[in-house]
Amino acid sequence: METLDGNALAGLFAEVFGEDMTTTVITCRTCGTAAAIGDTVVYPNPMAAIARCPTCTQLLILITQIRGVSCVDMLGVA
């Protein structure tokens, strides 16, 4: 499957957080890898924007947008 990286989510992240997030370093709750959001793994998904850990591919951040409302879940971030 084709994969992208967190740079592809830069626009959405900037819209949601109000600033660039691609250089923000987050730590994976599962394996402890620290990575810039721009370097996370993104599998295209029509339902949600999902950034995964570049080491263990566990889900880090999930963003859904429904009828103009954004929902951010940082469930995999330590």
Partner: protein
Amino acid sequence: MEGTAVQRRLTWQVANVTATVSETPSVRTIELAVPDWPGHRAGQHLDVRLTAEDGYTAERSYSIASAPGEPVALTVERLDDGEVSPYLTEELRVGDQLELRGPVGGYFVWEPTGTAPLLLVAGGSGVVPLRAILRERQRSGSNVPVRLLYSSRTLADVIYRDELDSYGDGISVSYTLTRAQPPGWTGHAGRVTPALLAEVAWPEHEGPLAFVCGPTSFVEAVAEGLVGLGYPADRVKTERFGASGATGGR
């Protein structure tokens, strides 16, 4: 309200197409007038949104091909099964409007104050943000030495060839052609291998900064190769692209 900065919220806005340039049979550069453009940095990108009559939308992220201070330009490769690129490369006309959001991204960005020798490695249309970096180097008067290694299927697929060949002076450009080489070709042939990287890349002890952009498999092979040559991982900036939007199908 002293000390209060009004933060500009990133929102969708409408740009006007002012020019189009055919780069190769399948690649087109689109120049845009963006009324509320806050300026960008070399290597940043923007999101384009197309809306169909029935309200269906498709978003894609494209690297900005122009240097800061120049008109905003995108260079788009047509993907036959793409949802957005066929429209941008074939249907869009001067005078048309295009909805965009940007600039975005701070990760894959080069600042002209940098002093490290630059290694730029492009796979196919991954050359687009690297061209913005080259132009920014020229525009800013920076004299950091640059090596560009550009992997392309054939010579006819090389984007910006005239411009790249005209640089000289501190910028050395190497091509490798993966699918076919013209008679008498003196450049490299085949994929970017660790051996080719060892030949072309700055030695690690010179403290280089690398920018690698291309399809995911290309970027991962090159980044791995550079780390194998001793480049610290944080000195290898990567950007991967693909046919799909991050939050959409084809």
